[in-house]
């Protein structure tokens, strides 16, 4: 199964997609909490790992839909740090699935280049087994020049760990030039794993749960949250379109709030010296260190 599926649209789906693209605002960044793989497996009386595998197939469909409808950035919650608490059999099964998919990704980089897809893994990669770290780092490096569609896969991720990592980055790397008054939420935002991504416009969670399960808590303060009862492997193109329509309906009500937040952020960047040479130098160091880490992991 490829990372971007060859989904065949029916004529009604094609017409609906064109209609939505013609009439309304398409979210730039959509985040998916892919919940319900195990419940789906139970309902179909298949193995849990097969449920996760079907879930991945739906992610490939979803990426195709996003690409075609005009979404430019997709973030998916694939594996939480909390999931390490599951049975070792299931965790190992999930890692094997990830190994298979990332190995496949490395084989089909030409196809990803063709679509301009860049893969970024957000999370505490160092918690993963070494061979998986290598695959993940290689996947990120091999697609780093693409810029048409960004796919961020949250793997070994929790938001709390991400925020702690941002604080830790400031404490470890900021010793030389950074002044205490340079530290603001604007700076911390740039130390998150999602440094180069805009916040999600729409967060789509399946399986009827109405919590966020420690996913992108920092970033989603202005996002439209859309909860659907469908289990992830059962998601269809129409569920996806329904979320886009819900976003188009709701976004205008959040527009003033978003504008206000953007203005506050710009103002804060000015007053906290975010554009000063020392802060920009600090951020350049972080970028350099993160890339060095990837190169090191890929070379292991």
């Amino acid at each position: 199964m490829s990372w971007v599926s060859d989904y065949k649209y029916t004529w009604t789906e094609r017409l609906a997609m064109r209609t939505l693209r013609a009439c309304g605002h398409i979210p730039h960044h959509v985040a998916f909490v892919m919940d319900g793989n195990r419940r789906f497996a139970r309902s179909q009386q298949i193995d849990k790992i097969e449920g996760h595998s079907r879930g991945f197939a739906k992610l490939a469909d979803c990426l195709r839909w996003c690409l075609d409808v005009g979404v430019r950035e997709v973030t998916t919650f694939a594996f939480s740090i909390e999931n390490f608490k599951r049975s070792s059999e299931e965790v190992e099964g999930l890692f094997n699935l990830a190994r298979e998919k990332f190995a496949r990704l490395l084989e089909e980089t030409a196809r990803l280049d063709e679509h301009g897809i860049r893969i970024r893994i957000i999370g505490n990669i160092e918690l993963l087994p070494l061979d998986l770290q290598k695959l993940v780092a290689s996947a990120m490096l091999s697609t780093e020049r693409n810029g048409k569609l960004f796919l961020n896969v949250a793997f070994a991720y929790t938001s709390r760990d991400e925020i702690t990592q941002a604080v830790e980055t400031v404490l470890r790397h900021g010793c030389e030039d950074l002044a205490a008054e340079d530290i603001s939420e604007r700076l911390l935002e740039e130390c998150l794993y999602t440094r180069h991504s805009p916040p999600p416009d729409l967060v789509f969670r399946t399986s009827g749960e109405t919590r966020l399960s420690d996913f992108m808590m920092w970033q989603l303060s202005t996002s439209v949250l859309y909860f659907s009862n469908v289990l992830w492997p059962q998601i269809t193109f129409w569920h996806f379109l329904a979320s886009i329509v819900a976003y188009q309906r709701d976004r205008w009500q959040l527009e003033d709030f978003r504008r206000e937040r953007r203005m506050e952020s710009v103002q804060l960047a000015k007053t906290s010296g975010f554009y000063s040479e020392r802060v920009q130098k600090f951020l350049a160091i972080i970028d350099e260190d993160r890339r060095k880490l990837l190169v090191r992991l890929a070379a292991n």
């Binding site: 009439c23 909390e82 604080v167 911390l188 749960e209």
Partner: protein, 282 residues
């Protein structure tokens, strides 16, 4: 040709959505008016109170778990939530055994912002102070809160039965979100040469997480577990920047602005919450 057809269909869709929204709002307003007339105005205060007690007693007997900490999120454009409604919600919460309620009102003063101090002042005059605000300072952690990394990840999976006579209230502001985390980071950075911070950096990341939690709770004055249930008063679900550190496992329920909120609504939300199962990653 297809493009023109799609554009036309798009316009029709927009009109339909707009029309639906308008009808929905009118219906909700009308419904709220009818409910208020039949429910609030045609009953005496005593009869209403008796009815509410009965509903809440029924509700309490059916719940398998009750949140200890409820957070109310009011969107910047909401016009339906006022001090009177909030007082009623606080009464309901007290009745079902919720111990802590946080209020996150994103409105400005001229758009209906409610100050908890006013509610608590009038409460203490009328009822002898069922609501407690501001929170007592001191302990920086919840009452016997589970520690991070334990089974519940700093959360408790609701409580059952225990009844409190006083409700602890917290007013959350926009500055308690991202800015407070930056504030904690700044303080740690200022003390980066101290053995405490150096020691934290040598340990696993969880130690720093725990330290950040403690410092945030101290700043918020939280003597409560993290909110387990959130009611968002808005047409759409959004956190509006509510406590990004604390609401990671909060179950959100959206109550559309303009719809009447009464004891049955509250009981329904609690019932839904009671049916939710937190899996804590397992």
């Amino acid at each position: 040709m297809i493009e023109v057809l799609c554009l036309l269909l798009g316009r029709i869709l927009l009109l339909l959505i707009g029309g639906y929204e308008l009808i929905w709002r009118l219906r909700e307003r009308l419904n709220a008016l009818v409910v208020r007339l039949s429910y609030d105005l045609w009953r005496s205060a005593a009869a209403r109170e008796l009815h509410e007690r009965r509903v809440l007693t029924d509700c309490r007997s059916q719940l398998t778990k009750t949140p200890q900490h409820l957070v109310l999120v009011i969107s910047p454009t909401d016009a339906g939530v006022d001090a009177v409604l909030l007082r009623r919600i606080f009464d309901f919460a007290l009745d079902v055994g919720i111990k802590h309620v946080s209020l996150y009102d994103r409105r400005t003063k001229d758009k209906g912002y409610v100050d908890l101090a006013d509610i608590c002042r009038s409460s203490s005059e009328e009822q002898g102070g069922s609501f407690k605000w501001p929170p007592t300072s001191s302990p920086s952690k919840a009452e016997n809160p589970p520690k991070n990394g334990e089974k519940t990840n700093g959360y408790v999976n609701g409580a059952n039965g225990s009844h409190s006579t006083q409700l602890q209230l917290y007013q959350i502001s926009a500055a308690d979100g991202h800015a407070l985390i930056a504030d904690v980071c700044r303080e740690l950075y200022e003390g980066r040469e101290t053995p405490v911070v150096q020691n934290l950096l040598k340990q696993k990341r969880e130690a720093l997480t725990e330290q950040i939690s403690d410092m945030l709770n101290k700043r918020l004055g939280f003597v409560a577990p993290e909110p387990e249930l959130g009611i968002v008063f808005a047409r759409q679900t959004c956190t509006y920047g509510l406590l990004p550190w604390h609401v990671r496992f909060t179950e959100f329920h959206t109550h559309p602005s303009g719809r009447h909120f009464n004891v049955e609504t509250f009981a329904n939300i609690l019932s839904k919450y009671s049916r939710c199962e937190q899996r804590w990653g397992t």
